[in-house]
Symmetry: none
């Protein structure tokens, strides 16, 4: 039996992309496409025989999170996979709270998208690796305080910088960090200097505090 998919996505071009990705698979039928949450709810009212909804987050009229909540309240059997470009903690958390069964980034390739649809129908929780990581971090750090404007100011730490900051947060000194990462202590110090500049702090404790507040570690 064919898998019945609905797509909620306002960007026409992205809808095309998703359709093309799914066109490779014979077990997939796209039942309908909605340009926003409100339209999705309307179409579902006419026909709720849908297995999986691929849901964008940012949409006019009604966003994907609100739509997820409504759909899940009325048709809990329908699986919802968020399919979005946003990997912010806030969106991920809100989506999961709203009842989303999976969370994928739009860059996902066709095969993985298809696998994810099968997985969600098998009571799994498909997530792109980076999202899985973020959910674990959210679980570790159960501080869901409202972010202030300052907290959301985008700060990008590189992979190495994040790694070093984590080691700093464990109380390790420069030499131990250097040993662990098999680099010179000079390099560790340079990375830390860069971290401090990015976070606008002047010592380890402040750096760790700020990074935790921004969910960077």
């Amino acid at each position: 039996m064919k898998l019945r998919i609905a797509i909620a996505e306002d960007n026409h071009f992205l809808v095309k992309t998703i359709q093309e990705k799914l066109s490779f698979f014979e077990d997939i039928t796209i039942k309908f496409i909605a340009k926003n949450g409100a339209e999705l709810i309307g179409k579902l009212a006419d026909d709720q025989r849908v297995d999986v909804i691929l849901m964008d987050i940012q949409m006019p009229e009604m966003n994907g999170i609100k739509a997820t909540e409504l759909v899940k309240n009325q048709y809990p059997q329908i699986k919802i996979i968020m399919l979005t470009v946003y990997d912010d903690d806030e969106y991920i958390f809100d989506s999961i709270k709203a009842g989303a069964n999976g969370y994928l980034l739009k860059e996902i390739d066709a095969q993985k998208l298809h696998d994810s649809i099968l997985e969600v129908l098998n009571d799994g929780a498909p997530m792109t690796p980076s999202i899985a990581l973020k959910t674990l971090n959210l679980l570790r750090n159960p501080t869901f305080k409202t972010d202030t404007k300052e907290d959301l100011e985008e700060v990008r730490l590189s992979k190495r910088e994040t790694e070093i900051l984590i080691q700093l947060s464990k109380g390790l000194n420069y030499n131990l960090i250097a040993e662990n990462l098999v680099i010179s202590p000079s390099t560790v110090r340079k990375h830390i200097e860069n971290i401090y500049r990015k976070l606008q702090v002047h010592n380890k404790m402040e750096a760790v505090l700020k990074a935790q507040k921004k969910n960077l570690i």
Copy 2:
């Protein structure tokens, strides 16, 4: 370059099974096998050049969750994948809190195990689908964990010491703390020295971490 794996698992047969699964892959080297957490810590002290640890949970001497915590404190760069038969919420949650990077069930097939090792080295969070689902559920309704015995081991900080430790945890230096509390920097330093002795630590970050774990601040 080969991927260096360590296994912590008390059951001989299961060790064999894991070894067989990994034997298919040429990019994998099994550095060593430990029969429990204590043995693992010992072997890591001799040689910490390990990329990924596959960790059982139920082991004699020291279980996998405690071992995860210790390894992550000393060698945060080592990735840890829990590999166990237990899919209880409690175990999953505790493992993640302890710092595990992934959580797989032992029934996993060879290919997926290999993929997971690559994924965790790529900063992902490999999980079997049923575990991924449980983490989402845990995120939806956050649980609260009881303290372990060790966390409650009696350490008494005086009122002044607690006060100073809180200021330390905010990233303030000795001089600023002295100003805030209207005492001499020398006194601040002496208090901190006493705090370190009581908590058996050697720098600010460790002191703050330990105090938080013991709910002293």
